[in-house]
Symmetry: D2
Subunit: 347 residues, 4 copies
């Protein structure tokens, strides 16, 4: 992050405020006493809504951070001597300060490469064949983790996930999806939520909401009900069981009502595509990956970078070897004026 | 908990809603973008306010649950082969599903007894003399943990804490305070916050707010600045660093403004004392501990218990050997009518 | 331990040397290359011998220390949020510097009392009824751990173990036996090994040899074959898989051949009973527990203690409140002269 | 490993027996009682000898396996949110089933590449500049781990280590050396032990003996005395404190007496060089790395491989992409006949 107190946010969907419908739901939940720790009607209601949306039986548990959703989900999918296969850019590998290792008691994250932030089923298959399953000297393959939408702003197609699902099943691994930007991916694909999750072999999903207009709530969704059994103990001892759970569930409830989640993500995606299109038109500028969700990675001309650096726009420079590369993120409340402003700065 | 969907809450301060001033602060914080992960002015403002209130330099870190506050604080105070001395009723021992062991990587909680939920300095001193410090076969004494107000609803006096602080220092241990109901204790004592914390030898404080009218926010306060250094890494890898931190900090900010925290706790305490006084007047009923905060433990006549069991009052039966014993909790929004209703039921 | 460089050992069976038969077996194993990490005929032979001795199918894994045997065995019997019920004097609770918590990733040891170092089935049953099974706020009952022979030198009878086994089964817990002095117990009981293990409900046994004449080898025996599956991974990542495994297995092989293990233990037990009998005859002296294995706890007159303190006898004073109490341990190589010498010193 | 029950060992130095001098020392140590857990003169004597050999003050702790030496050493060098930089072929990364993650409570191993199994100081420096030190989202750089001799059979020169030591110091990391084949490296270099350890910046050394003729003993050596302080607690709770420690120390004592360790390693190295020289002379065969210790990696013609596969020689095929590649290991007791036999098979 390059500056503070400024006004135009293309730095992170986490820097956006809470959608008004969600804030209203929190307020509405604030009437009188309600049983604590999730024994409330709002919490069971969220699970019921998710069953409808995903068209299947499932267990869903609210937690407050995306990292908590990821690492608690993973913690029931691997033994401590297990290996988790993920993209080298995965949030769990890059940005969680060792939380996966902490929650799994020392499982090893095995980094793989892959165009546009995506794992490839064929490469996974090759790697797993040589991974030493059953050999006591080696960590044991346990989980494949994919991110939807990816950290590069691309989106796995249903058939890409299904291929990975088949590899997971062939080698006896679980399939975990980090869906911090699940709504952005789904909006882009315009398919059923089931098509990119359980129908494609996903066992556990981090169903994100915080980056897409909530205040701080995600759902860990188990399509594999067996694996859900010990989740609640692990959530509590991770200190992620909220006493006043109703306020997390109220957010999710509003998020899932009347398609709000898809509307918010749809807006963010549209803004991203507009940014991408207009950057592509700048001489010397280049958009680096297909912009399928709400992230734009772009290489900008030096003059644009200089202008950006002294502007009131929040954004990220991306990595050390990425001279001239920036990451821009849109959100549910990125406005057309914000986009105009950004483009004025860099054009 | 004995029933659901009922109306009059004496079961838990966690079942109470959020105080209106705090909800208003959340709403006010919801304007435009703000840097994420705590790089916002609200978060730094909370630390500044706490320095004034505690009259000293300190570091303060918001987290969302009381268990998180406790176990993250403890995690920097003990090696994994350490021992944490606590009351047998302590929340960290009884009610956190092994979270302290998880976050400390296996430190051992050593349970002590003590009247009214309080540890005694003299007994601690005796135990520590025989604790095997330096002996490689034994876990190593590292932390004393006290709860203020205690799980029995009593309050440590400043001099009681100071005596424990001296024992901690004599044996080279840190002193941790679980202050989930710190405001209730302070209101009762009517002393300076410093008198029951750093001036008495407390190194790290879980400064509670959730049970006293917040939605989900606590501050881990380090009076020992050295120990604060690695806290942020442990919070992140515990998945307790909130991206939209502003909403946690906004709660704390409102809580600390114009003495709201003490007003809320003062009300809860007054209601508790009224409940206690009126129960004491019931023939055959007995209040078990001095009611100094917002918890009442009482032995009730059989008729009262039966009447309570079929009523619309939420409350807890307490333990197996405690035939006839109930726990009643008041909160910032317990009303005079609630108290009248309860007493009508049990009289 | 009160002195060094002295000659007559009643301090510990760990201070005894290695039995000549076992040393000879090590020497014999030292011929030419042999596959490492347990892929050798000596190691498989040990398992075969144990199947005969215990009259059942089983899996057996050599490790080098008693603590390793205990904590690796426990590590596959409890989730990290589990509770292990043990006697307050248990080695795993008192003398392993938190190794059980380390290997189980934070399970909680729940200490119980019990005459002569023995857990009582009825008390266990009571405690487990109130242990909060299924309640997410509490650690979950997972294992009962008993020590045979106990730390007090007494021995569980087959029916005492069977009663505990029934309680374990009723509540869905595993039953673990720390058999660091298993041979001493068996010799005393003169029953079949099966009678105090799998027939009585024991799932996993630390089968000790080091204290009874080996150099450094124990077997972790799984009567519950299902639980054995992940043991080898946990042993390796605990750094307890020996490359030159043949030398551990050679010890066990000799130990189990021609009843050596029972002969060695029988001698130690006889010496202990002689010590006990002769101490009982000293005016003012008192033997504290039934001497059923090779440990004697005795209260001695002041003159005896003073004489002992300046003698060349190695022994332990026992605990702080135990004025005048000593622990004396015999071993496979305690001689009649050693006993005479000890008695001369204290009489 | 490709066969069992065969006679000629080029598979592993772990498959070799114990050197007679070391077995004799074990026998000699077997006289009478000796205090347990390392409170014996043999153990303190080993530390004294190592001080002389390394020409400095140090702390040395015997453990029984190479993995234990590595992971216990690392466990005091990194916080649980730390990063350990190692070669992608490092034993700690490849062959310890997650033991480093277990003992460090979840530190992350960051794999680097490097010719001949060696890390390069310049690359380390580059990587550490971009490693996110101080950034709460990332694991924190803590340790550089190098292997001497390397897993590829090469040996770091003193100046190569010193350059890495400077990088470690510049970035505030500790430097750990896995010296499972330390003697082989030292023999090759013919320098002072200090030149490739503390004088070059090494803080902690796994000083191997098992692969070089011992039965099962290594020393963890701390040149950084500060870091040694908590080692003993971690060793005990790792279940690696031996009760009958004298037998580990006796091995080390003999190993260090009259240069036995260097004689044994010198022999192994000479045999390796002879194997390498003679393989190089086979048409179509190729030795892959400089043979500086006792490991030979070679690409063999198809006919040689076929002949080897059906022979009585123990050896390893190496990796999946390494068609035709074998690993051959010599040891202290590889004989000239063994070498002749091997060469006859593959020529």
């Amino acid at each position: 992050m390059v500056k503070n107190g400024t006004l135009v946010n293309f730095a992170s969907d986490n820097a956006a405020p809470v959608a008004p419908e969600i804030l209203a739901a929190i307020q509405k939940a604030n009437a009188g006493p309600m049983l604590s720790y999730g024994d409330d009607p709002l919490t069971s209601g969220v699970e019921a809504k998710l069953k409808q949306i995903f068209e299947c039986d499932l267990r869903a548990f609210p937690v407050a951070t995306g990292t908590a959703a990821n690492v608690l989900g993973l913690s029931v999918m691997t033994p401590p001597y297990g290996a988790i296969y993920c993209h080298r850019l995965a949030h769990i590998e890059q940005d969680e300060c060792g939380a996966p290792e902490f929650y799994t008691h020392g499982a090893k994250l095995v980094k793989l490469d892959g165009e546009g932030g995506k794992l490839q089923a064929a490469e996974l298959d090759d790697v797993l064949k040589e991974a030493g399953a059953g050999n006591v000297h080696h960590v044991q393959p346990a989980v494949i983790d994919i991110t939807q939408a990816t950290e590069s702003g691309t989106v796995y197609k249903p058939e890409e996930i299904a291929e990975i699902g088949i590899v997971a099943q062939r080698h006896g691994l679980g399939l975990h999806m980090d869906g911090a930007r699940f709504a952005n991916a789904l909006t882009f694909l315009d398919c059923a939520p089931a098509d990119i999750t359980w129908r494609a072999g996903v066992d556990v999903l981090s169903f994100g909401a915080t980056k897409n207009g909530a205040m701080g709530t995600e759902a860990v969704i188990f399509f594999n009900l067996e694996k859900a059994r010990e989740f609640e103990f692990r959530r509590k001892r991770g200190a992620h069981l909220f006493s006043k759970m109703r306020y997390l569930s109220a957010q999710l409830d509003a998020y899932l009502t009347d398609g709000l989640w898809l509307d918010l993500a749809g807006h963010a995606n549209r803004m991203a595509r507009e940014v991408a299109d207009r950057i592509s038109a700048i001489p010397g500028a280049e958009v680096l990956y297909p912009v399928e969700a709400n992230l734009i990675f772009a290489r900008l001309p030096e003059a644009s970078l200089e202008s950006l650096a002294v502007s009131d726009v929040l954004y990220y420079r991306n990595g050390k070897d990425s001279a001239g590369e920036v990451r821009l993120v849109t959100s549910w409340n990125t406005s057309a004026q914000d986009v105009d402003h950004l483009l004025k700065v860099i054009t």
